[in-house]
Amino acid sequence: MMAGHMMLKVAAGFVIMLGLLAGWFPLIATVALYALELLVAVLQAYVFALLTCLYLNDALHVDH
């Protein structure tokens, strides 16, 4: 979450710095990064839940 949020803020800062003329390109990048962050947000929760299940499975089924 940390790296992605920092990248988002940097890209959003570029939008302000470049202004109306060239600011559209980092704006597109910001939207794309936001979509990526949304994906990562869901993926992290999924991976955490899946690994929890795997650890519990290891704890429950020792014999195989």
């Binding site: 979450m1 519990l56 704890a59």
Partner: protein
């Protein structure tokens, strides 16, 4: 008095000098309600908001035969985790399903709420994800020893190995320990 004003002045100057790109100050933790050691920080506040959001979605979803939008959203998450626990844990899934669902929805809510501008991302701090991962890790170890006793140590040994081989195997292939160590940070990494 003088020190506090100089600190405030330098803080203001620092803030003014940062310009439009200031990617790191969004992770600062400050106290929202100052009660000494029992203060509520913005991290804690957003965790509470995440819990309230999850509770609101699951409690306020109507229980109709033809589901509404909110109901199918809540049921979608429920069934997704239900399928996952059932696939991995088999007939034990009912016992651990509430825990896994709580964990999943809490992390998901924290992550998604953190994407709102000016919100605080609780899971961006490694202490939060590390605490969650350690809870799971220690809890799974306790459950393993409680259910299996000392037989739980067999997870370090591949099945069907004759005892004599173990003398050679244990020093050279302590890989379950190392793989456990390498899997463990992947849970806790704040991406």
């Amino acid at each position: 008095m003088t020190t506090s004003t100089t600190v405030a002045a330098s803080g203001a100057a620092e803030h003014a000098a940062k310009g439009p790109i200031d990617p790191i100050s969004q992770f600062e933790i400050h106290r929202v309600i100052d009660l000494g050691p029992f203060s509520l920080t913005n991290s804690g506040l957003w965790a509470i908001i995440a819990i309230c959001l999850v509770s609101l979605v699951f409690l306020s979803a109507p229980r109709k035969l033809v589901p509404t939008r909110l109901q199918s959203f809540a049921e979608g998450i429920y069934e997704f985790i239900d399928n996952m626990t059932h696939e991995v844990l088999g007939h034990h899934s009912r016992e651990f399903f509430p825990f896994v669902l709580t964990l999943f929805t809490f992390i998901l809510a924290c992550n998604v709420l953190g994407l709102i501008p000016y919100a605080f991302t609780v899971t961006s701090h490694i202490i939060v994800t590390l605490a969650l991962a350690l809870t799971v890790f220690i809890g799974a170890t306790i459950i393993g020893f409680a259910r299996n006793g000392l037989r739980y140590l067999k997870i370090f040994v591949p099945s069907g190995v004759p005892p004599l081989i173990l003398v050679i195997l244990i020093p050279s292939r302590s890989y379950p320990i190392s793989s456990g160590r390498s899997r463990f940070p992947s849970v806790s990494s704040p991406t």
